[in-house]
Amino acid sequence: MSKREPVPGYIPELKALKVRLSVFVKMRWLVVLGIIAVALFARYVFNIGFQTLPVFIICAFLLAYNLWMYLWNRRLAGEETELVIRRAQISGYIQVLLDLAVLTVLLHYTGGITNPFIFVYVIHTTAASILLTRRRAYELTTIAVGMAALLAFLEYSGIIGHVNLNGFVSDALYQQPNYVLSIIITLAVLTYTSTYITTAVAGELRQQHLKVDELRDQLMAEDKRELERFSGEVANLKEERTRFVRLLSVVAHDLQAPLVAVQSCISYVLEGYAGETNDEQKDWLQRSSRRIDGLLVLITDLLDIPRIELGQLKQEMAEIPLNEVINHSLEGLDIVAKKKNLQLTVELPAQSPVIYGSSRRLQQVITNLTNNAINYTNEGSINIKLTENADEIRVDVTDTGIGIPSKDLPRLFDEFCRGSNVEVKGSGLGLSISKRIIIAHGGKIWAESPLLEDGRGSKFIFTIPKQKLNTQISKN
């Protein structure tokens, strides 16, 4: 049993109440049809003698008042405030009260206490029990029984006339005290029992509703706390990451500065500013210089990874003509290729495709792929080809080099991964950086090898979609 009254402003309850009110309006339309049908049937099929006109007048009144209720419900539908729930409750009370009055008047014109439809009061009190609080339900049940008793008494005592259902019951039945009393008592037992059962069930449901609501609130609060904690952690991580990149920048600078100084000192000597050097001395200095170059490249590459990850590319993005980007990337590489007797060919479309991207970073990718191709090719040629279709551009860098063993292909783009058949060259970060750059452009990069039957030849391909990829870029 519910010990708690419905909470004003309790939204699920209010919604339920409004739904129930509209159900009652719908039922009332059907009830009007039912009354008319029953009246006509009783009058003309069973030939029960009574006046149908008052019945139709009452039906007309019922229709008019139900239309008013229908409109009233529609007006309440849009709002969900405390005031509305009160109004809905009042409206429910008035509706039941009116229904009881209409039923009583209808009964009066159709045989009063002798009409078996007198037990329809049970439906009204059940409706009240569903719609309203327990107290109101009992109030209305008492009113219902009172109305029935009053009707019976008034007719019995002759204060108002009695309309007899001629041909259905004897015209003296309404004046038999035993009959009248037993009908009223039966009616009272039925209505109070039904009210008791219905309010108990409705109260239980209301309790459940409240519990569900409470649980939902709790869950939502927990979810919110969880979300707050989580977003706080994400913010911390981001901050941590930014701090790490800053730290890395400082460390890289401090590592790089002495190397730059050493490199400069070596070139000072190598280029003869500190006096003549013989060939052997030059050779040793050049070896030192090359190793320092390698270190400088490693430092730059190491810094590239967090910078790309932090979304630096976003700031560099612009509309870029790819033919130009490729030509810039290959500057100087043709000389390197020529030194190794390799043929370097470039195939570009007549009209340069334009994409949204970072010119500097894409140059870095193409230079990296071409450099690798030159490094791992001892004879033959390297071809760089740019093609486009409606959706994307595609760059193929093909070589006739030593090829890549198939077991190395899956981890080729991982940090510090080198083919198992090659000597150590470069920082080991080039392809991993290239992959990050292409992904930041929303594209794909992969390798195919071998191309020839003897295991030689490899091809590196990347594609970049043509449309602006703001969403994808911001994810990186």
């Binding site: 990149v245 400069s264 280029e271």
Partner: protein, 125 residues
């Protein structure tokens, strides 16, 4: 004689630059930070300034900022000699200089750079 002001906190680097440019017949003045560099620029009115970016006391950005506001010296070409790692997020910071050159700079490139900005001496050499 054309004057070149080298602003760099790395004494070895400045020594190398001074050595190379001395040999080419330039007068080289060395400053260890932006503040010193600014003083020297105002005093010596050099023909070219080679500027490091990350320096203690006053870095290259602050130097360029103050330098560009001083009309007496603002017309002197400034070349920033910097490395990729020095810009905090790898971004070329909007930095009002004639040119960026990346470190380490080779002696012959340094000479070419000087000749590019100091035309009169290029003819003499």
């Amino acid at each position: 004689m054309a004057k070149i002001l080298v602003i760099d906190d790395d004494a070895d680097l400045s020594a190398v630059m001074k050595g190379v440019l001395d040999r080419e017949g330039y007068i080289v003045i060395v400053a260890a930070n932006g503040k010193e560099g600014l003083a020297q620029a105002r005093k010596e009115k050099p023909d070219l300034i080679l500027l490091d970016v990350m320096m203690p006391v006053m870095d290259g950005f602050l130097f360029a900022d103050e330098f560009n506001r001083d009309m007496a010296i603002a017309k002197i070409p400034v070349v920033a000699i910097t490395s990729y790692v020095e810009s905090p997020l790898g971004q070329p910071v909007p930095f009002d200089v004639a040119e960026y050159v990346s470190k380490p700079i080779k002696p012959k490139d340094l000479v070419a750079l000087a000749k590019k900005y100091i035309k009169t001496d290029a003819k003499k050499n």
